[in-house]
């Protein structure tokens, strides 16, 4: 199973692999739900490298396994789910092999995560200042006043007006956008190497979204931090990310430089995603991908997208496709080819 994929990886196009040692590397990561006798595969053989200071978009429909992949990197899979293969490396060192205590020391410190709904994701009964200070003191042996100064400084940096006074406010006293800024402040207060952002703007309105995206981009540059930005919004991701990985039914189907991916999507699924999100002339119908994503446990043995694919051929249903490189790295036996430009 693994062999051919590794070989392909070695020969991928330069766009797909950063030059220096990656800050975060997902190596052949698989996640399953343990059932009584069998296990249901939810994510299979995900390979993804994120360079230092790089922003990688992870895109796909709901249920494609994006969030689970991120949670696995944090060691925070929901109970009943487990990593059944592969590893995650942070600066070249294995994360998943760590003892729980050692892993906890890295969370919020070297690798951080922000979530979709900032209201339910903050403790409603704790002041926001206390929640940020708590993060600092979970990892650093600093005085309470020093921690407080750091927290105010960061709240100020993420654009909370009157940060010092707002330290004593509770989450429900903030707007959605401000709450997400607080979440970002709490996640970044220790200047982590890697930030996993799980649809942090999905619950926000469009103007607020733009502010958050801009903030993460700036902080990423300032802190030389790597970001994995999970979203189903391909347009947003192609705007923000350096590279984009497209997930479908628990696996990555295409990885490319974001500018390239948007123009020349070689996987039929990526093309469908791009088309369904693009602006079309007045009167033209919405473009959509027919059918719905295959549920885990009901994946076809061949290409998992084959049942919905308009380019499907005989060999698509037989064997599971490996990555092919070209303009982009794509998991398809019959990718869309483009004339050399």
């Amino acid at each position: 199973m693994r062999g051919p994929e590794l070989l392909v990886k070695a020969s991928v196009s330069p766009a797909a692999v950063p030059a220096s040692r990656p800050a975060l590397a997902l190596l052949d990561l698989s996640i399953s739900q343990r059932l009584r006798r069998t296990e249901k595969r939810l994510v299979t053989h995900v390979d993804l490298e994120v360079g230092q200071g790089e922003i990688v978009g992870l895109v796909g429909e709901s249920g494609s396994g994006k969030s689970l992949t991120a949670l696995a990197c944090m060691g925070l899979l929901p109970s009943g789910l487990a990593v059944t293969g592969g590893d995650v490396h942070l600066d070249g060192a294995s994360l998943l092999g760590l003892a729980p205590k050692a892993f906890r020391a890295l969370r919020g410190n070297a690798i951080s995560m922000i979530f979709q709904d900032p209201l339910s994701s903050l403790d409603p009964c704790a002041r926001i200042g206390a929640q940020i200070i708590e993060t600092i003191r979970a990892h650093k042996d600093v005085s309470a006043s020093q921690a407080k100064r750091d927290a105010i400084e960061l709240l100020d940096r993420v654009g909370i007006p009157r940060a010092a006074q707002r330290m004593r406010a509770y989450p429900h006293e903030f707007s959605g956008g401000m709450r997400q800024r607080v979440m970002i402040a709490a996640a970044l207060v220790l200047k982590p190497r890697v930030l996993l952002a799980d649809e942090p703007t999905t619950a926000l309105d469009v103007t607020t979204q733009a502010g958050i995206v801009e903030l993460v981009r700036e902080l990423c540059r300032e802190l030389q931090m790597s970001v994995v930005w999970i979203s189903h919004d391909l347009a947003l991701v192609s705007e923000l990310a350096d590279r984009v990985a497209v997930m479908y039914a628990g696996e990555i189907v295409e990885v490319a430089d974001s500018k390239v991916l948007f123009r020349v999507s070689r996987h039929p699924y990526t093309k469908g995603l791009v088309a369904s999100g693009s602006i079309r002339p007045y009167g033209e119908r919405f473009s959509y991908i027919p059918g719905s994503i295959a549920e885990p446990g009901t994946w076809p043995t061949g290409c998992r997208f084959a049942p919905r694919c308009e380019r499907v051929r005989e060999e698509c249903v037989g064997e599971h496709p490996d990555f092919r490189s070209g303009t982009t790295t794509v998991r398809c036996v019959n990718p869309i080819e483009y004339e050399a430009e």
Binding site: F115, S121, D123, C125
Partner: protein, 310 residues
């Protein structure tokens, strides 16, 4: 602040209402204090009438109520017509016992109940959790006066490990406190466990883990505080029940507290004593629920907002 003031106004209204209802029902019910003071068969009628006139018992009820209430407000709590002791003395002699008993039960219910509920939730489905659940349903199913009698029979009379009546030493306190606390303790354990489990799976716990906060801190600091709402709401009702049950439990164990005095005064139609003691109990219940509401607003900042606007 406005929230607290509103609560205080409610409390005053409730206490006045209670005083009227108690006063009226005591005087409207058949029998009179004179039957506890005199032997009605041998005492001449004129003596009784003279006694009643002297103590104002022949005045119209509103007038009697007015005298009683003005007396209360000027610090005169009245006198027992049966024992001739001032009500102040009776309260001073018995209030400490009731406070001790109810206080011990309170500590058992919340001080022991909440940690056990939390532990059961943390060790969900372990033998400890199963044991706690089974034990609490059994205790909950037994009425406290039955439990009292069972414990008296087994521990007191057959095994002779604990005294069954009276007060004076710690061992006297054990049985009545346990009996008084048992049912409410079970409720607290169960509600704590359920509420804690619900909050344990809330989104914010994942965020805290993602920031490297230790599991113990997440549980005892964040999850517990978030799960206090239902526990306090139930607690207010439990404290009310607790004060009501003290009457029964004090009588069963011959505990010389307010409950024993109250029951006795009702039976003897000792008006002033009944009235003052029931007002004390009512005030305690009202205070407890006011404190409960304040505690609720302290643990959950969102309650404060609605309280101030509503």
């Amino acid at each position: 602040m406005k929230f607290v003031l509103t609560r205080l106004c409610y409390a005053v209204v409730i206490i006045v209402l209670v005083s009227i209802v108690t006063f009226y029902s005591m005087h409207a019910s058949p029998g009179s204090v004179v039957s506890s003071v005199f032997n009605l068969a041998t005492t001449p009628h004129s003596v009784i009438v003279a006694y009643e006139r002297r103590h104002g018992l022949l005045d119209p009820l509103p007038v009697q109520y007015w005298h009683f209430m003005t007396g209360l407000l000027s610090g005169n709590f009245g006198t027992s017509l049966v024992s001739n002791l001032s009500v102040k003395t009776i309260v001073a002699n018995s209030a400490g016992y009731t406070a001790l008993l109810a206080g011990s039960a309170f500590v058992l219910i919340f001080g022991v109940g909440i940690p056990i509920g939390v532990l059961a939730a943390i060790k969900r489905d372990s033998w400890f959790d199963r044991g706690v659940r089974a034990f609490s349903s059994i205790v909950l199913a037994i009425p406290n006066f039955v439990l009292g009698i069972i414990l008296i029979l087994v521990l007191g009379i057959h095994l002779h490990v604990l005294p069954v009546a009276g007060a004076g030493s710690f061992s006297n306190l054990v049985l009545p406190a346990i009996v008084l606390a048992a049912a409410e303790w079970s409720l607290t354990v169960r509600v704590t466990r359920t509420s804690f489990l619900e909050q344990l799976s809330a989104d914010f716990t994942r965020t805290l883990r993602a920031r490297g906060v230790s599991e113990r801190r997440i549980q005892w600091r964040h999850v517990l505080r978030n799960s206090m709402g239902p526990i306090i709401s139930l607690g207010i009702i439990e404290v009310r029940n607790l004060l009501g049950y003290t009457l029964i439990v004090e009588v069963i164990f011959r505990w010389p507290g307010l409950g024993t005095e109250l029951v006795q005064s009702v039976l003897q139609r000792d008006y002033d004593v009944t009235e003052v003691l029931s007002l004390l109990l009512a005030a305690a219940v009202v205070l407890a629920s006011a404190f409960g509401d304040i505690a609720l607003s302290l643990v959950d900042p969102r309650v404060r907002v609605t309280g101030e606007h509503g």
